[in-house]
């Protein structure tokens, strides 16, 4: 499906960008994971959002969401895995799905590219970020799911259903995990193996496996878009919220401090406007 603008992230920055772009009559899709992974959802009370003192985080998010829905913003649930640019369009893969857009707004929140020891070396050699893509290749074998998002238990269940022998590793035991999937508490993770993955070390305990699915809430922008410039670890943007790649804009926590809702909403507005203008100029 082709849209004018694809927004990566369904928090305040992403939804603000989406609403502004809809006001400019652009078709918009917001790609985001589970709301429960967003910092706003976890905030019991917000005291510094202008005009709405003492509002609860989930309630504010729900209002943002409804506003976006009422403007005709489309949503896709899932994790954006890659973005590729070809012939002036951006192609975004989301699990087994794909979307096409003329411009992209990155608003995934703070998603740093910090990886576990052994992770980058084994990418494609046992390390995977997509259970739906690669699960079938591990049927009948031992896999470890490193659960770092609210959707990870569902993906672990999927892997078990298609015939993988799954062990679930996370800092806390999640809800919704199928019976028969052992849970192992693990904060410090290391991927083991020479050429291919042979195991995972979780807080010192070794788990033998052929594959490890590392399921974070969001993929870091520099992994989505190789070559994207950073500044102090955040996505580098100018006053138009334009990132270093033409047609790519960024807003919210991914661009840097302060990590606040008002700032995210403001940056989202600028990014939404400028992305719409970019499309008008390049059509």
């Amino acid at each position: 499906m082709a849209y004018d603008i694809a927004v990566i992230g369904g928090g305040p920055a992403g939804l603000s960008a989406a609403v502004q772009a809809r006001q400019r009559n652009k078709s918009v899709v917001v790609i985001s994971g589970d709301d429960r992974d967003g910092p706003i959802y976890k905030t019991e009370r917000i005291d510094n959002y202008l005009g709405l003192p003492q509002i609860r985080g989930p309630e504010l998010l729900e209002r943002f969401r409804k506003h976006a829905d009422s403007m005709g913003v489309e949503r896709k649930t899932g994790r954006a895995l890659n973005i590729m640019q070809m012939n002036g369009a951006f192609y975004i893969s989301i699990g087994s799905d794909m979307a096409q857009a003329g411009a992209v707004v990155l608003a995934p929140g703070v998603a740093r590219g910090v990886k576990y020891p052994g992770e980058a070396e084994h990418l494609g050699a046992g390390v995977s970020y997509c259970a739906t893509c690669d699960g079938m290749l591990y049927r009948g074998r031992d896999v470890v799911v490193v659960g770092r998002s609210s959707e990870a238990p569902e993906e672990a269940n999927f892997l078990q259903e298609i015939g993988c022998r799954v062990t679930y590793v996370a800092p806390r035991e999640p809800e919704g995990l199928h019976g028969g999937i052992p849970f192992v508490k693990g904060v410090r993770i290391e991927v083991l193996g020479e050429k291919a993955v042979t195991g995972v070390r979780a807080d010192g305990r070794e788990l033998s496996c052929a594959g490890v699915f590392i399921l974070r809430a969001a993929i870091a922008p520099t992994d989505l878009l190789p070559g994207l410039a950073l500044r102090d670890g955040y996505v580098a943007v100018d006053r138009d919220m334009a990132a270093s790649i033409p047609g790519v804009f960024a807003a919210g926590d991914c661009t840097g401090l302060p990590l606040q809702i008002s700032k995210a909403v403001g940056e989202g507005l600028v990014a939404g406007h400028r992305a719409a203008e970019y499309l008008d100029k390049h059509k």
Binding site: M84, M86, S96, C133, D134, M136, L137
Partner: protein
């Protein structure tokens, strides 16, 4: 020329032919594979007569995927003289593939 779709037999024939062969291991359940498909098709047209470019559906050809250690899709493997000379895992821009093709024509 359209992209070739290999079964085991066609695959063996293509890679043993001697010239450069580029094979995309993919599946229909994989979003990144769908994203890569137009790139592969474009290259098949651009390199017609110079390189053999095809695809293997890992769902249909599980043994082939296993034989070549495909652990994540898409994986694109390059063969010359019947031997693997390089591979690229994940979605890459077209240049990543053309660089290897051009160096081995």
């Amino acid at each position: 020329m359209a992209t070739l779709h290999f079964n085991k037999e066609g695959f063996d024939k293509a890679i043993s032919a001697g010239g450069i062969t580029m094979v995309d291991f993919w599946a229909s359940w994989c979003g990144p594979c769908k994203m890569l498909a137009p790139v592969i098709d474009d290259l098949a047209g651009r390199y017609e007569g110079k390189a053999v470019i095809g695809k293997v559906n890992v769902d249909d050809e599980q043994a082939l995927a296993g034989e070549y250690g495909v652990m994540s899709i898409p994986t694109v493997i390059f063969f010359k003289g019947g031997r693997e000379i390089d591979r690229k895992v994940g979605v890459m821009p077209a240049d990543a593939y053309t660089a290897i093709l051009d160096a081995n024509l």
